[in-house]
């Protein structure tokens, strides 16, 4: 009864963005700017309204709802189901993604108004949202991969939106190559998972492809057959690491991050979309979705947690010295997503998703207001040439300040709660033993750095002296750009409310506990460990403390002693240059991977492809066929007597052969 109500709302909330993008893709060129924008916004916003309805319907129910639409592929021995796995996690993300995407699309109408090919832009944005929703709603590993790859494709197209610029093409290509590598890892991991005994244990074809089948099996086994499950733990370690590599590629975690800061020519709304709700969020969603598997891979969890914490810290460090606004925010995203991965790595999945939600709002506000600044300053993004915009862009300034505060952990704002939750999980959950101290402390060290670079960004843009560039009259943008910034700023201020202290109104708890807790409880039972009894409130003062350090330093330096950074640059030249060069990952990869690969490939091309295959096999076959044809054509000369002769030869031959057989 319940799911009959939801089947079509869910289907339409998924399909609406697709319909929008199809309309824009097919007929968008004929539409005016206004029509294009309204098609995109109405479809995504319609999807948001439907998802609100779904979320309200879902309030108070714990069990996942499986909506089946038959089979996607049906061959003997393999049935790939087509359906939706609707639980708290997917419902929550469905709402957040469509809401933030609607805001960003509204912003784009103002931002992209003078740009050409806006139908392509809006179509791609809508399509990107569609694939994200497909990923969120998938109920099995195959349809999950469809959404996953769709996100890769749309992100590639959005990064390369201005494809006439060779730098843009390079950065799009960089994204695609990195994703191809990490997706391969993910694919191998998922194949291992699908073919593992826990998935195949199920009788019936393909039943093991759905999450539900695999996870229920896992939970059951953790109680009924502990030795068997224990023998599978090494397999789960491998799967978890491979999935982490896959997710880290999409989420731009360290060593696979190089695509994210280099999207200089990508339209700002597209950057906002992929850094807040689609591309980068997809990896975190994947880790959260597959956390029941992760919980049975403690070593992998420890590796993930430590690497992510380091990633968060180092990325925040890189953001310290950059001067391009977009680059700072990109490194900030890498750092924040590192914290989310830390949450997933220690088992605090609900906190990670909470941070994903708050970060989505905060980061979209930051990027969009940076877009407003860039728009007002006619394309200037270098903070060294900005400053003193406080009086010129007052509304943007307030919104930006709110988002900066929320990002860096200002008490009672959105980021504060979610970060505290993550560290609460890190220090209390028992899965990764003593490593939690390392991961937790390194992660906590990222908070003051975050506060520092966030406030630095704010001070360098809005405070200080105003350098008026020639011919620029900065002013507040239109309402269509201002309103989304304000709404997201307001949400970043009050966003913490979704983790309201009273359990009845705690959205995160209501939606995520039924998804996260049962596997967690069974895993704790399996490992025989107990949770430490720290309260969540214990970590909030610590967060406030570390935030205050970063804030205080930034304030002192950038408001009182603006010359200090220059001195830092002179005294710590090597460190500064290393951070300024963004860790030189690309150079390292170039030496150890790209050059040898290029050498091997060019050898293969020259010797094997051109020499052997083209000249030898392909052309040789063609030539020999032609020679054969010329020879055969000699037989046909137009004389009837010859034709009869061939007939006679054939008959004689057949009779001769037949007599030999006797």
């Amino acid at each position: 009864m319940f799911f009959i109500d939801l089947k079509y709302p869910v289907l339409y909330s998924l399909l609406l963005p697709l319909i929008g993008s199809i309309i824009l893709g097919m007929w968008g060129r004929r539409f005016g700017q206004r029509t294009i924008a309204s098609v995109a916004i109405s479809t995504v916003f319609g999807s948001f309204l439907l998802s609100l309805y779904i979320a309200l319907k879902f309030w108070g129910t714990g069990d996942p709802v499986l909506l089946s639409f038959g089979n996607l592929i049906e061959v003997t021995g393999l049935e790939i189901p087509l359906g939706f796995h609707l639980d708290g996690l997917s419902v929550l993300l469905l709402t957040v993604v469509t809401a933030v995407a609607s805001l960003i699309l509204v912003y784009s109408t103002g931002y992209m108004v003078v740009r050409s090919s806006s139908s392509r832009f809006f179509g791609l944005m809508t399509l990107s949202v569609f694939f994200m929703l497909a990923l969120i709603l998938a109920d099995n590993f195959i349809t999950l991969l469809i959404g996953w790859s769709g996100i890769a494709v749309t992100t590639y197209l959005l990064i390369g939106f201005r494809f006439y610029n060779s730098d843009t093409v390079q950065s799009a290509k960089r994204f695609f190559i990195i994703n191809a590598v990490s997706d391969t890892a993910l694919l191998v991991g998922l194949i291992l998972l699908i073919t593992s005994p826990i998935a195949l244990n199920y009788s019936g074809t393909g039943a093991g492809l759905t999450y539900r089948a695999v996870f229920e099996n896992l939970t059951t086994l953790s109680v009924t057959d502990k030795p068997f499950l224990g023998s599978l733990v090494p397999l789960f370690e491998t799967i978890a690491i491979l999935i982490f590599i896959g997710a880290a590629g999409k989420s731009a975690q360290l060593l696979q991050h190089i695509w994210l800061p280099n999207t200089s020519d990508t339209p700002i709304p597209a950057i906002a979309l992929m850094q807040s709700v689609t591309t980068v969020a997809a990896g975190v969603y994947l880790m959260a979705r597959l956390h029941p598997v992760l919980l049975f891979a403690p070593t992998a969890m420890a590796i993930i947690a430590v690497i992510s914490a380091l990633s968060a810290f180092i990325a925040a460090g890189v953001a310290l010295v950059q001067t391009d606004m977009k680059k700072i925010l990109a490194w900030s995203t890498i750092s924040q997503v590192g914290l989310m991965f830390l949450g997933c790595g220690v088992g605090a999945v609900a906190a990670a998703i909470f941070h994903l939600v708050t970060h989505a709002v905060v980061k979209s506000c930051l990027i969009l207001s940076v877009g407003s600044v860039k728009y007002a300053m006619e394309g200037e993004t270098d903070i060294r040439r900005l400053g003193g915009l406080k009086s010129l862009l007052p509304f943007t300034r307030v919104a930006f300040l709110a988002a900066v505060a929320a990002l860096s952990g200002f008490p009672m704002l959105a980021g504060f709660f979610s970060v505290s939750e993550i560290f609460h999980g890190t220090f209390t959950l028992p899965f990764i033993f003593g490593w939690k101290w390392l991961a937790g402390i390194v992660g906590y060290a990222a908070i003051p750095v975050t506060a520092f670079y966030a406030y630095r960004l704010y001070y360098r843009i809005f405070e200080g002296e105003y350098h008026k560039p020639p011919g620029v009259e900065p002013s507040e943008p239109d309402l269509s750009m201002e309103a989304p910034v304000w709404i997201s700023a307001a949400l970043s201020v009050i966003g913490g409310i979704i983790a309201f202290p009273k359990p009845e109104f705690n959205v995160i708890d209501r939606y995520l506990s039924p998804v996260i807790d049962p596997p967690m409880i069974s895993a704790i039972g399996f490992w025989g460990r107990t949770e430490d009894a720290f309260s969540s409130y214990f970590f909030m003062p610590i967060t406030v403390g570390v935030f205050l350090i970063g804030y205080w330093v930034a304030r002192n330096i950038y408001l009182r002693r603006p010359d200090d950074p220059r001195e830092f640059k002179i005294h710590h030249k090597d460190l500064h240059m290393y951070l300024w060069d963004e860790l030189r990952v690309e150079e390292i990869l170039d030496v150890i991977l790209i050059r040898p690969a290029k050498w091997i490939v060019s050898w293969l091309w020259r010797e094997v492809d051109e020499g052997l295959i083209d000249r030898g096999i392909v052309e040789g076959t063609g030539k020999s066929t032609f020679i054969l044809a010329r020879m055969v054509n000699l037989l046909r000369n137009g004389y009837t007597r010859y034709y009869l002769l061939y007939l006679a030869i054939f008959i004689t031959l057949v009779i001769w052969l037949a007599s030999r057989q006797e």
Binding site: T625, F626, L628, A629, R630, V632, N633, R636, G638, T640, Y642, Y643, L644, Y646, L647, I649, F650, I651, V654, I655, A658, S659, E662
Partner: protein
Amino acid sequence: MENGPEQDRKELRLYEAGNWFPPLMAGILVVTGLLVYLNYEFIVHHFYLPFISTPLEVFASTYRAYFLLLPEMLDLAGGILILLMDMIRPNKNRLRAPLTAQVTLILSYFPVIFTMYLTTRYFNAALGQYWGGLETIDPFSLFLKSIVLLTVNYVVVIAMRSKELPEKFSGEFYAFLMFAVVAVECVVSSSDILAIFLLTEFVAITSYILVGWLKNRPTSTEAALKYFLLGSMSSAFMVFGFAIMYGLSGTTNLYEMKVALHEVRMQDPSMVPVMLLSTLFFMVGIGFKLAIAPFHMYLPDVFEGAPTAIATFLSVTPKLATTAVFIRVFLLGLSTVADLWVPMMLICAVLSMTIGNLFAIRQTNMKRFLAFSSITHMGYMLLGLCAAGVIAKTNSNAAIQSLGYFGMLHYMVIYAIMNTGIFLIVSVVEHHSGGSHLDHFKGLVHRAPPSAYTMLVCLLSLAGIPPLAGFMAKFFVMWPLFEPNVELYPLAIIAILNMVVSAYIYLRIIKAMFLDKPMVEERFYPDTTYRYAMIPPFAFLALYLFGGYLIRWAYAYASSSYFLTINIYFGSSGPTGGL
């Protein structure tokens, strides 16, 4: 051609007409697709039967034997009528004769389709053996008859607009054509070697006359003479083979022969070489009719010399009849001695595929090219027969229900439609550019886009490019080779290699049509008749995408076990009704 204002206006009108051609085609595609989707039986029941059922049902129940021969009788009457018209007013029949032929052909559709409908509805109503077992009316023969009639419609369309055929006594041409059609229709339902021999000879002799129709063209006469000489030679072989078969089995009925040959073989194994000889001779005779290698040498000469309409006719209609004979004789009469003919059939299939392709590579004359292409396709078609034959080795009854049998039939139907489509365009180009050399096809897309696109679809389909019908045809003829009890993998590999070569030869034509510069830039506009005639092949080949409706229906109908049940229920004697 003078370029007065009259001419300009006409061209303008035709140009405008050309503009609505693509939308019209698309519309027809959609409507036909919807009809197919909505349910064939519903349409027949509500739009066809109310108009036709009562009188036909009364006639059918009263004179069953005559009713089943009604299509043949109608066509025969049409032919005689055309002859009479020609006697009365010899010079006025340029259009009347083909129209009469067309009307007769369309009229003769109704009994065929009505009987098909009856047999799908009321399983074995009105079917059986007639005239002492000479003719067997079964779903198989009705199905082929409907395709034969369709192709002859096209032949008439092509002949009607042809500049080649002389104005005077043009009725005679269509009369002969109609008589040939009558014979073909009878061949597809023959189940007796006597009938088969007489009727295939009937078809052959009419074809000799039609090939040599252009008395002023030396190649035509030469082609007719060659065709006649080689054809009579092969007929001699065939009748010799039949004589031995009769001598061995003591019967001319194929249903009886099947049992008799088996008994003879069991009783006297020393008869096996004689059986082999009879099979071989029959194969030579009938292989010549189907033009499979190595009996194919006459075909390119004949296609080149004959009028285009007759080349179309020869490439399709008698081949459908001959396929029926192949199926009836090999899978029914000789199915108990399948081990004797399967090796020969394998050799012929391989030779046909390979030699046809190798000859076609260097052809620049479209008609000769199509001749070699048809040789290749007959080779592919034989793959199905080989597979069915391998099954017949172990179970002679299963051959007729096997996938190989179905694949063969399916292949022939699609081949027939593709080939008529191509010949239609060849005749259009010949009509407007004055020849059928490859050079005349260069840049066709700039000169007559709808024709070029129709040709493109047909050629790609012949090459077996996936979404089109030709791919499905090749798929279903290849599939039986991989069946667990057949396993003719080497044959499949040879066939696939040949498909690669044939892709080249068809793409060569497509390249000429789409990439090369035309010799003359001037656009031309095919006649309305041609334009309408282009729609069905195009529609069919594209519509084939719609859920394989034809596959399901043809499989259910043509290979319905009724072909077999006659054998089981009526034994060797068979029911004799009517006359």
